[in-house]
Amino acid sequence: MNIERLVAMVNDIARYFASEPDHATGVAGIADHLKRFWEPGMRRQIVAHLQEGGEGLDALAKLGVQRLAELDTK
């Protein structure tokens, strides 16, 4: 899928969770959201994108995707 679109979508999600005062909860929120609502192929693609440097991903989004990668390998 178009990676820019996926990046934009993760950034949108991260911007929602950015207001969470507890940083760790925010990161977990992003990962949980992606896990619950994103089709696995999209998840694999965004994780791979992060592993290649994660161009375009906001800082918090990167942490969320990183956490997602951990959830998905469990």
Binding site: M1, N2, R5, M9, D12, I13, R15, Y16, A18, S19, E20, P21, H33, R36, F37, W38, E39, P40, G41, M42
Partner: protein
């Protein structure tokens, strides 16, 4: 004219704790205090003659036919306007009363045509019935005097009292010569519909019914709801279909297939032909009212454009080939199997429909999950109310509105945000107006001055005309006022909500940055108004929020829904009558299609596919192993199609090529697929890109259920056989069997039994129970055997209510020098959604093209005048519409409807979407508007392509 089966008790039912006992014609009867003598008599099985009384309207007391004698009282009081009293003794039949009634009827008939045998009301005329009841045998006054009956007098001179028939309305006629001036039409327009389009002009013999000061009906303020036609006791106001076809011989109760109000109708039939649709007085959602769409715009079901045979083609540039059902189904199954064998199990999917029944929707998602072996199923709620599901589930614990419509009768403050009920949910809009006229306060939050802001006898207390895209800012600033001014219902919050989440939320909204003063620059709404509105909402008594797509179709749609739930919880406005959070659903079965497990991550009843226990229950029942990961959402399907991994799509009753944003992106995705299957009534925009067309059935052609915006499950009944042989559920079943997943239902009731078996909130629902109760609001199970009108009573579905943080994140869709205006979109009363149905009816007389509404200031700056062609350009595309200069919009904001495909409204909208659900941001697009003199490039291409596709349809041949 009333329904052929309705019993009219003369005056409305009255609710009272106190019962009154009286005697009518020697029969003792007990009725609630406040009941009229007429209604009490009707309840005892005694009919009192009447003409101006009908139980949809308040008593009026003008016809003098319903007079009675009451022991100990002087004179002959009208039974319609006389309330019962304890111990009252009433006589309805005495020689004196007979004499008076005959005299009254004699006067009526002396000014009424005697063409009964050829009159459309013949067989169901109340005037004729009353003449019979009172024993009228002669009219001593003759017909030579002043009258409204004849166009000319005996000398051939024009009769100044005569008025010709008004046939301007496409659906009904107004024949003043038959009018008895009972005022039922006027009162129906006032009391029921609330439009106040009709009046009685003149006094005494000069009195006549007049639409908007002697206009023709079509030119008047009349909204063609038909309440006046239904109320008319004679043929003065008659449906044209009744005039054409004569009286119906039977009547079938069914549910309207237009908006989310879900009105109950009696389809009045002659064999398999509909004579007219009459709203059902016993209908729990609509109580006998309807709008111009539901009552009149049903001609699409028998329109010549309907396709009755399956068709197949290899490429979309090929002519269609008419094939048998067997061949079409075998072809789809073989193609889908080929695609899965070539590109993998996940390369195909399905889209369910909010216009189909629950049973049909359920089967499509079952076919995808069990037959295709993946979870690539979604529904058009993706583009309308998916944020409602997300937002309400997160906060309250259930993805649905909290109330029934009748709840508004107990509301003191109505808050409408991002909804336009008088256009998009007209029958509930009328109910809302009734409550507002009775004194409830009104807050409207909308960038546009919708009709409700100022309409007869209603004026919004606050209209917060915010900038499009700032809903969350507005909700947060309202919350700020409630929290910082000490208006929180602390007792409610303490007892009912999670304390930690509340504390976090309270600190969050109390930040100075969310004060109305700080937010003024963002929302454009004066701080003092925001404070006033927040105080009114929090302290004005029972406060209820009604919202629509103006909330959900934003980049922060889900955040806004959570913001709404936060407000309701903070002020204790949830869990009883008169309050709540009420999403007004766009299409008839949006709620149902969501309930039925249409989303790629959820089974029926909103349970995640990853939940092993839930999945296990479906696996046991369906006899297959199910995938445990979410599938693709509709916009994901488009992306996957464009990257070559998604190849086949089964679309039941949706038109994504018109309704989804960024049209050119959607059509490119459709063209990238190898097998697009469209099941629909018409060759819609999506079908022009399809390889297989399976003819669908209208709501008149099948059995099933719809669920409206108040979670109300209502029956849809077959009044005519499916025009293309199969109802939609049967087509899905054929396809499942051909794909190798067996389904053997013989009636939709068996599908509902399966839904009930597998879905806790539907456990006690069955067709038999629906027959018994008329309709049921889910949850309906052992705990709530009769259903649940009001949810979250005593406790939230999720236990404790959870306040969610709702940071305002401005949309990335911003105005700039290139695109300095914001385009927002909406609906109009006479048209419905993509217009596939309503465009094929006479409703086009009210709206035959989408226009761009633009503020005079913006128009003047661009040299644009009314009716000019204007180009509207966004970063996604360009289209051309005619301009309508309007002050409904604020400067800087333009508006259009999207009912005509050639308008290309979605050519302009972008791929931006709600962060949580990917619901498109339809309501905010930065655009430039310029005067032009020709259609856009897209429109030119669209015209050519559409003509080609029509030609390929016309060339369709049986091999």
């Amino acid at each position: 004219m009333l329904s052929i089966v309705d019993i009219d008790r003369g005056t409305p039912a009255v609710a009272s704790d106190k019962q009154v006992t009286l005697e009518i014609d020697g029969r003792r009867i007990q009725v609630p205090e406040g009941t009229s003598v007429m209604r009490a008599a009707a309840q005892a099985g005694i009919s009192i003659p009447k003409l101006c009384a009908t139980d949809m309207l308040e008593a009026f007391g003008s016809c003098r036919l319903c007079l009675v004698e009451i022991e100990g009282r002087k004179g002959y009081p009208a039974s319609c306007t006389t309330p019962v009293a304890e111990g009252m003794q009433v006589s309805t039949q005495t020689p004196k009363l007979a004499d008076i009634r005959r005299g009254v009827m004699e006067l009526y008939i002396s000014d009424h045509p005697l063409d009964c045998l050829t009159c459309p009301a013949n067989g169901h005329c109340e005037l004729q019935d009353m003449a019979g009841v009172v024993g009228l045998r002669e009219v001593r006054y003759g017909y030579d005097g002043a009258n409204h009956v004849f166009a000319k007098d005996k000398q051939g001179e024009a009769n100044p009292h005569f008025a010709a028939k008004d046939e301007s309305n496409p659906y009904f006629t107004f024949d003043p010569s038959k009018c008895i001036v009972c005022s039922r039409c006027v009162r129906a327009c006032d009391e029921v519909q609330g439009t106040f389009a009709l009046t009685i002009q003149g006094r005494g013999f000069e009195s006549k019914v007049s639409p908007s000061q002697a206009n023709r009906f079509l030119d008047s303020e009349c909204v063609s709801c038909g309440a006046c036609v239904q109320a008319c006791p004679t043929a003065t106001l008659s449906e044209k279909s009744l005039i054409d076809k004569g009286q119906a011989e039977h009547s079938v109760v069914t549910t309207c297939a237009y908006c989310g109000v879900g009105c109950s109708f009696r389809a009045e039939m002659k064999g398999e032909e509909i004579v007219r649709m009459v709203p059902n007085k016993d209908g729990h959602a609509n109580h006998g009212h309807s709008c111009v769409k539901g009552r009149f715009a049903i001609g699409y079901a028998t329109h010549p454009d309907r396709i009755h045979t399956p068709m197949v083609r290899n490429k979309i540039s090929d002519p269609w080939r008419i094939v048998s059902w067997e061949e079409a189904i075998a072809h789809v199954a073989s193609e889908f199997k080929r695609l899965q064998a070539t590109y993998g199990k996940f390369s195909i999917g399905g889209i369910t429909s909010s216009r189909c029944t629950n049973e049909e929707t359920y089967l499509v998602q079952k076919l995808v999950r069990a037959g295709f072996g993946n979870n690539n199923v979604d529904t058009c709620a993706r583009v309308c109310h998916s944020p409602t599901g997300y937002g309400l589930k997160s906060t309250l614990g259930e993805s649905a509105g909290t109330q029934d419509f009748d709840s508004i009768r107990h509301t003191d403050v109505v808050l409408v945000i991002g909804a336009n009920p008088t256009d998009a949910h007209p029958v509930f809009g009328s109910q809302m107006k009734q409550r507002l006229r009775a004194g409830a306060k009104l807050i409207v939050i909308d960038p546009r001055r919708i009709d409700l802001v100022r309409t007869p006898h209603i004026q919004a207390d606050y209209h917060l005309k915010l900038r499009p895209g700032t809903n969350v800012a507005m909700l947060d600033t309202l919350a700020h006022v409630i929290v910082t001014e000490g208006l929180v219902d602390e007792a409610f919050v303490t007892a009912r909500c999670e304390p930690e989440a509340f504390a976090k939320w309270r600190d969050f909204v109390a930040q100075d940055k969310y004060s109305p003063e700080a937010m003024e620059a963002e929302t454009g709404v004066p701080a003092a108004w925001v404070r006033g509105a927040a105080r009114l909402y929090a302290t004005g008594g029972n406060a209820a929020i009604y919202y629509g797509l103006g909330v959900t179709e934003h980049a922060q749609g889900s955040t806004a829904v959570m913001g709404i739930a936060n407000l309701a919880m903070a002020t204790g406005n949830i869990g009883r009558e008169g309050v709540g959070v009420n999403p007004l659903r766009g299409q008839n079965n949006v709620q149902g299609s969501c309930d039925m497990g249409s989303f790629p991550h959820e089974f029926p009843g909103y349970r995640h596919v990853g939940d092993a226990k839930v999945r296990g229950s479906f696996e046991a029942d369906w006899g297959v192993t199910l995938h445990d990961e979410p599938g693709l959402r509709i916009p994901n399907m488009f992306e996957a199609a464009l990257d070559g991994s998604f190849k086949g799509l089964y679309i039941e009753g949706e038109d994504i090529a018109q309704s989804d944003p960024n049209t050119q992106h959607v059509t490119a995705a459709l063209q990238a697929m190898e097998c697009v299957v469209v099941q629909d009534l018409f060759l819609n925009e999506t079908a022009k890109f399809a390889h297989v067309f399976l003819p669908g059935s209208s709501f008149l052609e099948k059995e099933g259920t719809f669920i409206n915006a108040e979670r109300r499950i209502s029956r849809v009944r077959e009044v005519m056989k499916p025009k293309a042989r199969y109802a939609d559920w049967e087509v899905t079943q054929l396809l499942a069997n051909a794909m190798g997943y067996p389904m053997h239902y013989t009636h939709p009731s068996q599908i509902m039994d399966e839904i009930a078996r597998l879905t806790p909130t539907f456990h006690s629902v069955s067709f038999a129970k629906l027959e018994q109760l008329g309709s049921i609001q889910w949850p309906c199970n052992d705990e709530h055997p009769q259903g649940t009108p009001v949810m979250h009573v005593g406790e939230f579905v999720r236990g404790k209510g959870r306040f969610m943080l709702t940071e305002y994140v401005p949309t990335s869709e911003k105005v700039n020098a290139e695109h300095p205006l914001i385009l927002t979109t909406g609906r109009i009363l006479s048209q419905y959604n993509v217009g596939a149905q309503t465009r094929r009816t006479a409703n086009v007389m009210w709206h035959d093209e989408d226009r761009l509404e633009i503020h005079p200031h913006d128009a003047q700056e661009r040299g644009i005048k009314e009716d000019d062609w204007v180009g509207i350009e966004s970063r996604a595309g360009q289209t051309v519409l005619r301009a309508r200069i309007s002050e409904r919009m604020q400067p800087g904001v333009v508006y259009t409807t999207f009912h005509f495909p050639g308008s290309g409204a979605n050519v302009i909208t972008t791929e931006n979407s709600d962060w949580a659900t990917n619901c498109p941001e339809y309501k905010v697009t930065a655009v430039q508007v310029t005067r032009v003199d020709q259609p856009s490039e897209w429109q030119k291409r669209y015209q050519v392509f559409s003509h080609q596709q029509q030609a390929l349809l016309d060339a369709a041949e049986t091999p």
